[in-house]
């Protein structure tokens, strides 16, 4: 650390002095806003910008590092009047000082912005930007008109995107100058021409990115009025995302870039293509499903399937038959048993009543020669032959008295 008393010690090293200067300059000159002319502009491959800022009598070396340079929306060129903000920076090894810039804009941008803002207020009050005045874009345009430079990158972007997304869409280029003093009038003329001759059903009016001044034609009164009067819907597509022009406010639709405008006009066609694809898939799926069902039905009527079916039916009937047979046999058996029992019973009853049982107890039966049973003495005569039956057989006998 060096303290302020160093100066008083009389003898300083180069480093001591440089250090003092660095401290003094860097601490004393900061938050600067400097206007001057760009000279000797040398962009480095690393992205840093080296240049000199000068006026009629003086010059100062300046640097803008990459981190700041990329935020500047234009590339400075020799002779540009710019306003930078920044601080002083001392480079000790060479004993030089330079202006380290953190922002840069073209001088007079403040005036332009004020003018644009006033114009914007004016047209807003006139109702030029009202939502009720905005026309919808056609969902399925036939021919899209493009008011832009025929040689610009914007047109190439638009053509490329349209040929990819909506190859059937016709494109009409309405060539206009998009930069410089005559630009606004050529843009306005093309918009009017498209309307007069109904050259297309949607218009893209735009250009690629550029400085605030480059985009100014799209904020000119004649362009604003031509867009407002246009019967054909207008898409304003000026510059990059961050750029804007008054055409963005009066246009029916604002696209952030020309490419985005091309995407907007082709969206309906692209959607329809996707819708068609999905419908076709639905039809294919439906028919496939239908055929699958029918195939299953047909499979059910194959000979093998029918045979299996028949076998199953037969087996069922066979079972019923076997069952019936068994039932019948059983019924017969039951009936037989019943009759056998009745027979036994009858036999026993019969036995109880049999006369032979009486004979067994020692009685005998007497019958006449004709076999007629003799019940009493009067039925016989002496000398008559009779038959006496015992339990074990019979004998002939003669009545003696």
């Amino acid at each position: 650390m060096h303290d302020d008393n160093l100066l008083l010690q009389g003898e300083l090293s180069v480093s001591d002095l440089t250090s003092l200067i660095k401290t003094t300059l860097e601490e004393g000159f900061y938050g600067l806003k400097v206007t001057g002319e760009i000279s000797n502009f040398r962009p480095a491959s690393t992205g840093h910008w080296f240049f000199t800022l000068k006026d009629s009598t003086c010059a100062i070396t300046a640097v803008m590092f990459k981190g700041s340079a990329w935020k500047v929306n234009f590339t400075p060129k020799e002779g540009d009047q710019v306003t930078v903000t920044g601080s002083l920076d001392v480079y000790g090894a060479r004993g030089t000082y330079q202006l380290k810039c953190s922002t840069m804009e073209k001088s007079g941008n403040g005036d332009i912005l004020a003018l644009l803002d006033q114009r914007k207020q004016n047209y807003a009050q006139l109702g030029y930007f009202d939502a009720s005045h905005k026309k919808p874009l056609p969902s399925h345009p036939q021919r899209v008109g493009v008011v832009t430079s025929p040689t610009g990158a914007a047109l190439q972007d638009i053509l490329q995107i349209l040929s990819r997304r909506a190859p059937s869409l016709d494109i009409l280029v309405l060539p206009a100058t998009v930069q410089g003093t005559s630009a606004a009038q050529t843009i306005a003329n093309r918009i009017q021409q498209a309307n007069l001759l109904l050259l297309c059903d949607v218009l893209i009016v735009g250009r690629g990115g550029g400085s605030l001044e480059d985009l100014l034609p799209f904020s000119e009164e004649c362009v604003i009025e031509a867009i407002y009067e246009s019967q054909i819907p207008v898409i304003s597509a000026v510059g990059h995302e961050i750029d804007w022009a008054l055409s963005d406010f009066v246009g029916d639709v604002r696209a952030p870039t020309p490419s985005a405008a091309a995407e907007l006009v082709s969206q309906g066609i692209l959607d329809n293509r996707l819708r068609l694809n999905s419908l076709r898939q639905t039809m294919i799926d439906s028919l496939k499903y239908r055929l699958q069902l029918l195939t299953q039905q047909v499979l059910r009527t194959r000979p093998q399937a029918m045979q299996n079916n028949m076998m199953h039916t037969l087996e069922k009937k066979e079972y019923l038959l076997v069952n019936a047979h068994q039932n019948m046999v059983q019924a017969m058996k039951d009936i037989f048993t019943l009759y056998t029992q009745r027979l036994e019973l009858g036999k026993r009853e019969l036995q109880a009543l049999s006369p032979l049982a009486i004979l067994a107890r020692g009685y005998a039966v007497v019958t006449d020669p004709n076999g007629k049973l003799i019940h009493s003495r009067q039925e016989t005569t002496v000398g008559e032959n009779i038959t006496v039956t015992f339990t074990d057989g019979s004998r002939k006998a003669l009545i003696e008295e």
Partner: protein, 72 residues
């Protein structure tokens, strides 16, 4: 026939195809019609038949149009 009308017809066909009371013969005929129609529409949308043209001259009332050569 307009695009919308054609698309409606395809939608109708797709719906009939998924209905079970449509006969097979009818389904096949409908399917063929639907596929042909969708092919036709897809062609009108995607066929690279588009023209890129450029207006010549500055007279707003008298326009001359010629083919625009890309990369010109």
């Amino acid at each position: 026939m307009s695009f919308e009308k054609d698309v409606s017809r395809i939608e109708e066909i797709a719906q009939k195809l998924s209905a079970s009371d449509t006969s097979l013969e009818e389904s096949l005929a409908l399917f063929e019609e639907g596929m042909q129609l969708s092919k036709k529409l897809e062609e009108t949308l995607s066929e690279a038949k588009h023209k890129v043209e450029i207006v010549l001259g500055d007279d707003p009332a008298n326009v001359e149009i010629t083919s625009f050569e890309q990369g010109q």
